[in-house]
Symmetry: C2
Subunit: 482 residues, 2 copies
């Protein structure tokens, strides 16, 4: 997804906007024919490039089915503003033409009063259908599903079913058209077949002879993550949704599953960065909303991090007697934070994809303990070498800008090197283990593992890292510096 | 994606494994009929629950088309091991039955010698087709596409095309079957229509009358991110792939697009955590491979973080004269790192989704500068209040475990509070700005923005944070403590 790709696509559609605006003034009746070949997504790009006040006239110049499709692709913010400005009588015919799932989504975006007014102006049975969809949680299977699915009775013949499908295909567009669901007389989902399987079925056969009996489905209350998992595991293009009695209600199509996957991923990345997930895209979030989502966690972590001051005070005696220890504090706690950040990202993603399960925690713990010890040994060796090297270079007068290469760590520099090296082994091991186990713990307690953010782990490790540092120092330097 | 969901699914299939193993020994010819109703993904779960040595016999007991489909869903590690153990004559018929894109993927996973042997045992023209697919980069449109698409001549009648499609549907399964591509005599892609549009077309019409002329397509060398972007933007179930002359080569189906999106996301999260992206899932990556991917960045960052020791040494004089400053070092640099981590996650995700573009950098910079100043003011106020509060509580003898509540920061404690507060404003603003601008800079330089990992930003901010701290201290404490 290079930005070039995206901006090229936008400018291409934007180029058409002035021509269409002119046409809209001179002969609005020609707009529909002129834009006939454009994909609704591109038409939406054209609309976004227009001045906002021309939008109602533009949509009015299109056949209402096309205008409804454009609404589906329109930028959320622009769409909400547009619908709130239009009269319910203008808005309702367009909204009624949207696919049922998008229609419900749109009505959830606008303010409640506008939504009620538009709903009231939508004719039955579309209104009732929309009201039913609005009852589901937006992030549940019911909230994502479209009700425009093709279902046939399992006892029907293939020929009759095919004729029915052709009739539906000539009428309204149906999103989940490529999959045909078989139901029994009670409306219960009992089979599935693809349009191509229906085409390939022998003449005279009945639906229950050719449909697959074992249908993968979800209940309407299932979380969107369950729908996403099922889609990716079985390579589905639509997941049928049933009520608690097994009756077919609709289906979630793959395009909505992809949107759900992207949204979940965005939430995970934002949580991993140490903030609350945003409700809207970054560029469309208001400054105050953005601040609120960030300040909360940042303040909580800050108050937690105040414990580092307490730890430093607790070891004040040691710090005063062995001031050289101070120099390595940022290096040591930073390394703990970095190794924790690696581990937590690895495990959060692994849990999100279902590669690692809760029961794998001890396998992961053993693995990360070994990883931590190995990584800690590498950094510990580098750290000790740096002390010895700087001591050896001390007094040679080598400078790099304002910085002096080499330093004097005193007569016990060897013990200082050992302290730094050994501390790094401990801190990196602790950071790695904490970073990897925290996501498991959070999931076990019913929280989102992604809340084990890099800053959360870093803060935890900062405090503990100081305690490890001074404990090691007391052990090694006792009798010399301490 | 609760882990319960996943483990339930696995254990369900695993429950069948012993029965099927027994059947395999007593009457292997009955295995095919017994497992007929299972989805290949579930059959793969059964296979994964079996002892490895029974796998060849199990696959041999299935019709080769089914066995090929099971291979497609089988765990990558088990599949590679299996194919490398089988003779080329055993493996080739199964591999030949896989969809062309999966077949090419599988041959890229096994070692080169095995791949060559299996390829040689695959009959023409399947072999030539596979060799052609293997020439594309695995992460390009060509590497992801299947060649099994349905194409018809644009001059054909709808009836002839439908008869052709029915014939194909009765024969081999075609992945991208729901979309029909129209080509001209030269093989160039010139139209597209869905199976349902073909069904709904008026009798006697020709394909070019009913197909959509403006086909969204990609060239075979396009990156998988371009394919993903196009799929999500236009809600496609397949994206046609053409060569540099516009001739139809195949199509990337939506299930492979979802896989590509998930893989990209995993890479981004791992990079964001401060490591190289893994080639395989975490649980399947060997300990040494894991260590290699982590040790590199961790060591580079560690060497960079050594600059904190240099900075501390540079301000050694100030540290000795005003030892109280030492106490706040971890708190201050930690806050800079946390705010940087928030900003970098936000911007990396925003760039990955194409919400923010390279040209938006200055808008983001202004926004993040304001965010940084606001967040810094909040933390600065909290920090200064903590100093004043602890000074007030000093000597009251309040203890929390081993920690004393309250501390004596000396007679100039007011100035210390001001130093800590002002430094936090500076450090958090700098962290936020660095975290948000680094991804833009990396993209501008042609690198992956996700390399602006949380640890990278934290390390950058640690060093600068110390310089900010001591500069502010020199300014405020000059004449009193310094």
């Amino acid at each position: 997804m290079t930005p070039k790709q995206k901006s090229e696509g936008q400018s291409l559609a934007a180029l058409l906007a002035p021509d269409i605006l002119e046409l809209l003034e001179t002969s609005p009746e020609a707009v529909a024919a002129e834009t006939e070949e454009l994909h609704p997504a591109d038409l939406a790009d054209v609309a976004e490039a227009m001045p906002r006040e021309s939008l109602p006239a533009f949509l009015a110049a299109l056949p209402s089915e096309r205008a409804g499709a454009v609404l589906e692709y329109l930028d959320e913010e622009i769409r909400t503003e547009l619908l709130e400005q239009m009269t319910p009588e203008q808005a309702a015919p367009l909204v009624a033409q949207m696919t049922p799932d998008e229609r419900a989504d749109v009505l959830e975006e606008v303010d409640e009063e506008t939504a009620d007014d538009i709903l009231e102006a939508i004719p039955e049975p579309t209104r009732r259908e929309t009201e039913r969809l609005l009852e589901f949680e937006p992030e549940s299977a019911g909230g994502l599903m479209t009700t425009e699915v093709v279902s046939v009775l399992e006892t029907e013949t293939v020929e009759l079913a095919l004729a029915q499908v052709r009739a539906i295909a000539r009428g309204k567009r149906r999103e989940a058209m490529n999959t045909i669901y078989a139901v029994n007389a009670g409306g219960e989902l009992c089979g599935v077949l693809s349009l191509r399987e229906l085409l390939a079925a022998p003449e005279g056969a009945r639906i229950h002879d050719v449909a697959w009996g074992d249908v993968r489905h979800v209940v309407a209350t299932a979380d969107r993550e369950v729908v996403a998992r099922m889609t990716t595991e079985y390579d589905l293009v639509a997941v049928p949704v049933v009520d608690d009695k097994g009756r077919l209600l609709g289906a979630v199509t793959v395009d909505d599953v992809i949107d759900a996957i992207q949204e979940e991923q965005t939430e995970d990345v934002q949580k991993l960065g140490g903030m609350e997930a945003l409700d809207d895209p970054y560029m469309q979030t208001s400054f105050l909303a953005l601040l609120k989502k960030r300040a909360g966690w940042l303040s909580v972590l800050f108050v937690g991090a105040m414990l580092t001051e307490s730890a430093m005070s607790y070891f004040d005696n040691e710090l005063q007697r062995a001031a050289v220890l101070t120099l390595f504090v940022p290096l040591i706690i930073g390394s703990g934070g970095n190794s924790g950040s690696q581990a937590t990202s690895l495990i959060i993603r692994s849990l999100a994809l279902g590669e690692a399960k809760l029961s794998d925690w001890w396998r992961v713990a053993i693995r990360e303990l070994s990883s931590g010890l190995s990584l800690g040994s590498i950094l510990g060796a580098l750290g000790a070498m740096r002390v010895l090297l700087w001591q050896a270079l001390h007094g040679k007068g080598i400078h790099l800008g304002p910085l002096q290469i080499g330093n004097d760590y005193g007569e016990h520099y060897g013990l200082v090197a050992a302290t730094v090296g050994l501390t790094l082994v401990g801190v990196v091991t602790f950071g790695t283990l904490t970073g990897s186990m925290l996501p498991f713990l959070l999931r076990r307690l019913g929280f989102d593992p992604a809340s084990a953010s890099a800053p959360f782990v870093a803060t935890l490790v900062d405090v503990t890292g100081l305690v490890i540092y001074f404990t090691v120092a007391l052990f090694i330097l006792s009798g010399t510096l301490l």
